[in-house]
C-alpha cells in the first residue's frame, strides 16, 4: 500500500493501516528509543507510548517533510519526557561526571559500522548521550538542545565535545580489541 494512503487510512483510525505503518517504521523508531533509553524494556514501553501518541495525533501531520521525521520527533520527545521524569527521581550526577572527562579536542572521524556506533553510544552516560543523539542524529542546534534539556547552550557544547571524546575512546578500544581478536583467530 502507498504510504500516503496508509497515512490517510490511519487518520480514519483504520487498524490495518495502523499496523502497516507500525510494521514499516517500528524498527527504526525502536532504535531511536534504545539510543535514548539504553534499557530495552524501557525502550519498548516508550515505543508503545510513542505509537499511541502518533496514531492519536496523526491527523495533525500536515504533510510537510517525511512522515518518519514527524514520527521520530514524537518518539524523541516521548523519550526526553521519560528521561526528565526519571531525572527527578534520581540524583543528578551530570556535574560530577562532566569533570571526569579530560578537555581534549582530539576527535576521530573514521567511519564505523552502525552496530559498533550503537554499542559505543550506549556506553555513554545519559547526559552526554542525550546531547550527542540530539545534535548528531536529530540535528538539533545547541539552543534547541538547551531548551529541550533545560540546560545552558554552553553546557550543551561542552557535553557534546566530551561525548565525542569519550565515544572515540570507546570506538578505538572496540576496534583494537576486534582487530586483535581477528589476528588471534587468523593465527
Amino acid at each position: 500500500m502507498d504510504l500516503q494512503r496508509i497515512i490517510n487510512s490511519c487518520i480514519k483510525k483504520d487498524t490495518k493501516a495502523q499496523n502497516a505503518l507500525y510494521m514499516h517504521t517500528s524498527k527504526k523508531m525502536y532504535a531511536v528509543c534504545v539510543r535514548y533509553m539504553k534499557d530495552h524494556d524501557a525502550a519498548k514501553d516508550l515505543l508503545q507510548d510513542s505509537y499511541v501518541k502518533i496514531f492519536n495525533s496523526i491527523d495533525k501531520y500536515n504533510g510537510e517533510g517525511h512522515i518518519e521525521g514527524w514520527m521520530r520527533r514524537i518518539v524523541v520527545n516521548t523519550c526526553l519526557d521519560q528521561i526528565k521524569k526519571n531525572k527527578r527521581n534520581t540524583v543528578d550526577q551530570t556535574v560530577l561526571q562532566e569533570s571526569l572527562y579530560p578537555e581534549n579536542e582530539e576527535t576521530d572521524d573514521a567511519v564505523y559500522s552502525p552496530e559498533l556506533l550503537m554499542e559505543a553510544i550506549l556506553e555513554l552516560d545519559t547526559p552526554f548521550r542525550l546531547v550527542f543523539n540530539l545534535f548528531f542524529i536529530e540535528d538539533y542546534s545547541h539552543e534547541e538542545i538547551a531548551q529541550v534539556l533545560d540546560i545552558d547552550p554552553a553546557t550543551s557544547r561542552s557535553r557534546l565535545r566530551r561525548a565525542r571524546q569519550k565515544l572515540n575512546e570507546i570506538l578505538k578500544s572496540k576496534t583494537n580489541s576486534s582487530t586483535s581478536n581477528s589476528y588471534i583467530n587468523a593465527k
Binding site: Q18, M23, I137
Partner: protein, 203 residues
Amino acid sequence: MPNKPYDVLKEYEVDFDQQKSWKSIASRLNTSYSFWKFSIRSFNAYYCAGLIFVAGISTYFAIRSESISEIKQATISDEKNTDSSLNYTIIKNDKGKSNEVISHPDSRDITTSAKDNNNKANPENEKISPQTNQVINFSNLDLDTVAERNSQLGIPQNKDKNNSALVKRDSVVSSPRKKIYVSRKDTIYKIDTVYKKPVTRKR
C-alpha cells in the same frame, strides 16, 4: 562534515518482537477508541431521548395552543362578523344542569334559547331558520337522533373517528359528549374547550 560518520544511525534499525508490541499498542488504541465510541453512543442515546421528549412536549403544547387559537379565532370572528351567514350560536350544556345560549347579536332569528327552556332542552321548542342560523340543541339526544334531526333539516351528516356528529357550517351542536363542533365554510372546527372563557361572549 564532522557528523557524517554518525549519519548511518539515522536509518539504523533494531530488531525486536514487533507483533507482541503491536498487540499491546492495538489494545491501547482500541480501548481509547471504544471509550470515545461508547461516549458518543451514550451521548447519542441521551440526545435522542431528549429530542423525543422535547418533541413530545412541543407537540402537546402545539395541539393545545392550536385548539385554543381556534376557539379564539371563532370568538374574534364572531365579534367582528357582520355577515349573517357566519353567525352561529353555541348552546352550552354543562352536565345537563343548565343550558346557556351564547348567541351572536345578528342571530335575531333565534327566538328560543335554553334560558327559556332551562334543563328542558327540547328540539321541538326550538325555532329554526334555515336561511340564517340553525340552532340545534341536541344536549339530551343521542347521536342517532342528531343525525336524524340533521337529515330532516337538510344538514349533511358526517361522523368523525369519535363517532361525534359533524354539522354543517353555521350550525352549532352540543353533543352528549359535550364536544361542540363548529363548521365554517369548508373548515370544520372542533371545539372541545367550549366551557373556557374565550368562547363566552360578554355583552
